[in-house]
Symmetry: C2
Subunit: 356 residues, 2 copies
Amino acid sequence: MTDRSPATTVGQAGESALIDRIRSRTGAAAPWIAIGIGDDAAAIVPDRNRHIVVTTDSLIEDVHFRRAWTAPRAIGHKALAVNLSDLAAMGATPRACLLSLALPASFPLDDFDELIDGLTSLAARTGAPLAGGNLTRSPGPVVVDVTAIGSAHPRRILTRRGGRPGDLLFVSGRVGGAAAGLAMLETVERNALETVERNALGTAGRRDALTPAERGCLERLETPEPRLRMGHAAAFSRAVTACIDLSDGLADAVRQLAEASGTGAELRAGSLPIDDGAIQWAQRSGGDALSSTLSGGEDYELLFAVSPRRRRSFLGAMRRCPDVPVSHIGELTRPGEPCLVNGDERTPLPRGFRHF
Amino acid sequence: MTDRSPATTVGQAGESALIDRIRSRTGAAAPWIAIGIGDDAAAIVPDRNRHIVVTTDSLIEDVHFRRAWTAPRAIGHKALAVNLSDLAAMGATPRACLLSLALPASFPLDDFDELIDGLTSLAARTGAPLAGGNLTRSPGPVVVDVTAIGSAHPRRILTRRGGRPGDLLFVSGRVGGAAAGLAMLETVERNALETVERNALGTAGRRDALTPAERGCLERLETPEPRLRMGHAAAFSRAVTACIDLSDGLADAVRQLAEASGTGAELRAGSLPIDDGAIQWAQRSGGDALSSTLSGGEDYELLFAVSPRRRRSFLGAMRRCPDVPVSHIGELTRPGEPCLVNGDERTPLPRGFRHF
């Protein structure tokens, strides 16, 4: 700090104060974290007879979120959640995470604390304590890059590539919520921004015009819950031949799983468990809930291919996660273009969001 | 691709083509990579009776490098090297790496290939194959975030915190080269840019005005070599009580190691193995090689605290890395401000670079 006034930005606080603030938010170290924050690297005691499962994913300002629209706590939560969702899709158990954070010097210190809180509370709750990382200055956007480290039984790891023609496709939870949430955010926040500009009012606040189910979609978008228990139960059910998470949309997940497995796929439109809030929002906004559910990403549910002979073991395993339903939404088929079946109509599945 | 002309930017190439390009550059999968690029996460077979050692660090355009000054290959190399240097400082053996890459859509495809080549060739050479990651669009700067995964013997992991008063401080290689290289780059490239602007010439090319030793400093800055064998040999020598890498400068490394160990420290100015190129450059540019060596970062050498009783085991272990010298540069002392001793003069060590 260059003066005695209390720091209000990360630039004023200084790097070591920021690291102390992170450390104070990580809670008690888990026994498997041999060396945590503060050394050149972290050391983790591996689980016996397990593979190490690792994944990395980033959230970038103005690509994945807008600071004006999303609370810092949600950004921190989501940056970890999207990584844990990848572990869930492999049937892995989280063990630790690392955070690589790039911030402009003007980033408010309160927002920093909230962002870290959002990440560390999800980390504590899922057994993946923050064990290290790095802080760097950004010349512009906030970049939150997280690595999640987990473990999985070598013969129980789920991949995208084991599906066979005839396997049943199941999806966890409800779909389409995040895409509807994003549409709401764009509508509500843009309206609010216009209001602010027109009336010079202080803050937004049109979210109260949403129904409770619609607000659920915003929650789904901003603080997705990784399906860790479900992925783990699926892996040990021995019924699941392939699995992927819905990061880039349901249609994209089906395409990716089918392609990796060398199969085709059919989704039944009538069987999709579309989020109630997404349906309400589509009715109010004149949108098409089915189409945005298929193409819209970020639901972070799991898509399972299940051997038809082992359907009962799968459903038995899923009963261990009673708060999240699973729905039978289609089948893998012989190789061919993945399709949506809607009554008598068959149409190719749309492609998912691509960064490039 | 939206037309038939060959893609020249990452935006034109498309995400799956980019992933294919990465995959074609990763070489044969190592036997310990159970699941590599292309699934939700990577799976690695752990080494028996070893801890997992993980670290993450990023290079950000206009903070860590300028695209106009540094070849893409060097950016890819360095993004991995800085992470491997952290593994080296823990005495760990690299096993895999992950790449989280954010690029503007206009990023040239040739540069993309080169950047990936720089990373994957170092990865192949150090036993840390690229096992996964993600690609995302950046609204501005190139962000190269790498996670390195290694393994270390639980009772041979080096940390910053085991040093004791009386321990000898050794540093690997030569120091000050990277700081001098940065100063050269700033001088040479700025001159070249002015020349380009004045004469509308095509490319720069004043690097040929540098002496061979000076060009060595540029290499040190742009493609540092992580001291992996040295870190490993040090860990197994049982002589090293603490270790850290020189990412933020020699003075900073000494301060961090002393602080983590609860000691003071003394560096002897006359014993520092300052890079010949840094000395030549200081003479030509009127700078102070000692001061820039202490404060300047990015040498990526290792600083060791060595128990004086075990000095010979340490030196014996270091003989296994004959191409890199080690120099005895000072001692840990009783708690107190870390100092530089220069003849009769004692001055506090400067502080290192801080992002915030």
